[in-house]
Symmetry: C2
Subunit: 192 residues, 2 copies
């Protein structure tokens, strides 16, 4: 179950056998059936999650119960609410499984042990957060400047095959458009 | 000139006298007069910058020459194009001084020396990027769900007094609204 996580970390930093064993011991497996929550909006995030298999959405709802999709996470992605997890604030969004999912979770206590015993993981997390910052900045620039057509093309590129795995209305919500408008864009792309 | 930087780093990690001297030696001072570029869109970013004094904007223009403001940076903020700096890609946006500014710049080579000689800086950058990620995520959530009034209130909170320092049309561009609409919002807030 932990192999994809070890492979993922080793893309950035080396891990010897003892260190790998420590990582395995500190990441707890959780099976999250489809439509169950990993985190509820307003709760305190006690875990950050690595996705071994399945698919999740991070989303929030406003006062009028309108749902906004922040992002999706599939195999080999991380998901959580960093602000809530690190700064002990109520989570500003929720995380829910869109498919039966297998996750590996770590707690704050586990993170402290990991960083103390394997200081090289400081580098891993530094690079991980930097990549997240770069990706999010690009998404924000796209959101404010691109047409819906361009954003749809980026979504397909960013999340290959995800479109076939989740309901259309979620893709539309992520793109900030109506499902009807998304259908039009898809037809246009299919006929190219 | 380097004191604000040392104070800023010491908010996160300790630095002894030798380490402080190394930081000072590796961050190069640059005076950037108002309306000059630190980075042009399409160029390779050779520096990341810490703002000692002054104010800068990060922005990009689309094919129709429409300008989009990504963010501002004032005293004690960092600014640069992380993707270009770390991944050797052409910068996707430009950075320009809005006031005469004093900056402290580091290069990739300087960063390598810093991280090798002061491994604790891994922790500093890990926390810095994590905070950036949290702030950017919040801005993105606000951008997709909030009214212009709420975004204006957040801008005033996020950048205290900046409104008095820069032209109105830049604030409007940052908020994604017209200068006329911004004037209406300001009048509404002033009369409260």
């Amino acid at each position: 179950m932990h192999d994809p996580l070890l492979t993922h970390i080793r893309r950035y930093v080396a891990l010897d056998a003892d260190e790998s064993a420590l990582v395995v011991s500190l990441f707890e497996h959780r099976y999250l059936p489809k439509k169950t929550l990993l985190l509820a909006q307003g709760d305190l995030a006690r875990h950050e999650a690595f996705v071994v298999s399945g698919c999740l959405k991070a989303f929030f709802t406003d006062q009028d119960d309108k749902e906004f999709i922040i992002r999706f996470a599939t195999e080999n992605w991380w998901i959580g609410d960093l602000d809530s997890f690190h700064n002990h604030r109520p989570a500003t969004y929720a995380i829910e499984a869109l498919e039966d999912s297998h996750l590996l979770l770590y707690t704050k206590a586990a993170e402290e042990i990991l960083l103390t015993r394997i200081p090289r993981l400081e580098t891993f997390f530094r690079i991980l957060y930097r990549s997240g910052l770069i990706a999010l900045q690009r998404r924000m620039m796209d959101a404010i400047s691109q047409t819906a057509d361009d954003r749809y093309a980026d979504f397909v590129h960013r999340y290959p095959n995800l479109e076939q795995r989740i309901p259309q209305y979620l893709v539309a919500s992520y793109l900030g458009i109506t499902p009807q408008f998304l259908s039009q864009i898809r037809r246009k792309f299919a006929s190219r």
